[in-house]
Amino acid sequence: MAGSSVSRPVPSGVSMGRVMAEDAFEAVVAAHHAEIRRYLLRITARASDADDLSQETFLRAFRAYRALPPGANVRAWLFTIATNLGRNHFRGLSRRRRAYAEVAQHAPAGASERADGQLLADEARKRMERVIGALPEKQRMAFIMRKMHELEYTEIGASLRCSEESARAHVFQALRKIRRGLEGHL
């Protein structure tokens, strides 16, 4: 009996069904982490929240990855996990208020250095960001998924646990509010 083998590492070449799935998951992280984090950054408007939630998204995904049917849309599935985590995150009202406040202040990089002719456009853009930040949660998430990440309405519906039609309605409603918020700036 191998007396000193109690904590021996696995020799390379030991076959393990999971190893392949894990290697595949490395590719999932490489392909989608940046985008999922950007999505969560748009949702929360805080880099530290985006860090935490994107990490949690991928840890959950890793645990469930093996159960995912072959050929599943991994990107849409990650958006669903991230959306759920984002919504849990906002369950505390004070947190949501804080996020809205941050979205509202969120100025585009270099805005103040623009030429005078740009000032009106910048003002319009700030207004738009404020409106987006103040949208109801589902409308805001649907809008960001559709217009910032180009997800299909079926995928957005799956993320928000609503129908494709409702997902579309959320996005359209968001656009109407943005349009109204820009009255006089167009």
Binding site: S5, V6, S7, P9, V10, R42, A109, L182
Partner: protein, 321 residues
């Protein structure tokens, strides 16, 4: 919410869809026809197109805090940590009843008798951890080897082991000393205590072996009481210990809801010696079991690398079979 008054209600949804480029060909046609004659809707279509353009600009603009490099590095390290704790397990029939085998990326982490088919008891669930997943493929080869072992067709399980389910450094030392017991041999709890340099910790040794996460692989069945009684195994399943020992050629006799190894029927090795003896050689029979290792057969003693004693010559005068 009301739509802006300047848009005709009947065309509004189509108009929006056209502005953001999501309209069907029919909707495009309807909107084209409508705005050709309706000036306010034509203007509104223009406004929505500007909005959509601004949304596109927002999408393209850099985000404050966009750099996720650090976050990703941290994620990768947490994934590695999670992965090393995760186990895949399978449940297989064996001559000793259903057995659960779990492995992590480090090696075999858990072997547990289930006694009742199908049900994983709570303490085994806890040992598996919340991230355990059923993975028969990863444990199938192990199970086949285990069955060979239990049927006496294999004397070694050379598996890489994951010590993550061991409870303490003390237990790890006990299990390591136990893992060093050769196939077909027995020693006492006191003997293991002496071997790890804690001769008074006999009861702690027994406890450490009681919670062996890797029975059979780490052969705690080869550790017996100082009287030769098997004393206990896998809860109240001392009969499994007796069967495992029988497979390895260690005979036992039944005694008061227990089984006993008879020293007088065993080839005997004194700690530190290279030669094995018959139990009556010299002063061996007066030595405590804690300084001895007993073998059921000469073949097992010799397979473990020991040679027959040149005084008592167990090779010429074997014990009665």
């Amino acid at each position: 919410m009301r739509t802006p008054r300047s848009v005709c209600d009947e065309i509004e949804p189509d108009l929006l869809a056209v502005a953001i480029g999501e309209a069907s060909a029919r909707a495009v046609e309807r909107v084209d026809g409508h705005v050709a004659t309706c000036r306010s809707c034509r203007e509104e279509l223009g406004h929505y197109r500007v909005v959509d353009g601004m949304v596109g600009d927002l999408r393209a603009a850099p985000l404050t805090g966009e750099d996720g490099t650090l976050a990703r590095a941290e994620l990768v390290s947490r994934l590695a940590d999670l992965r090393s704790r995760m186990v895949g397990y399978g449940i297989f029939p064996s001559p000793l009843g259903p057995v659960l085998i779990a492995r992590s990326e480090h090696g075999v982490a858990l072997v547990q008798y289930l006694h009742k088919a199908g049900a994983i008891p709570g303490h085994v669930r806890r040992l598996l951890g919340e991230d355990a997943v059923e993975d028969r493929a990863a444990t199938e080869t192990l199970s086949a080897e285990l069955v060979e072992y239990l049927e006496g067709r294999r004397a070694r399980l050379d598996w890489p082991l994951d010590s993550g389910r061991m409870r303490s450094e003390f237990q790890r030392r006990v299990l390591e000393a136990t893992a060093a017991l050769p196939y077909g041999a027995v020693a006492s709890y006191a003997g293991i205590a002496a071997r790890i340099g804690a001769p008074s910790a006999v009861r702690s040794v027994a406890q450490a072996l009681r919670w062996n996460p890797l029975p059979i692989v780490i052969p705690c069945h080869r550790v017996i009481g100082s009287t030769g009684a098997l004393t206990g195994y896998a809860g109240k399943h001392v009969e499994l210990k007796q069967r495992l020992l029988a497979v390895e050629g260690v005979r036992t006799v039944a005694a008061h809801h227990d089984f006993k190894v008879r020293r007088e029927a065993m080839y005997t090795l004194m700690d530190g010696e290279r030669e094995y003896c018959v139990p009556t050689c010299g002063s061996l029979s007066s030595q405590p079991l804690s300084v001895l290792t007993l073998f059921g057969t000469r073949e097992r003693a010799e397979a473990a690398g020991f040679s027959p004693c040149t005084s008592c010559r167990p090779d010429l005068h074997p014990l009665p079979a």
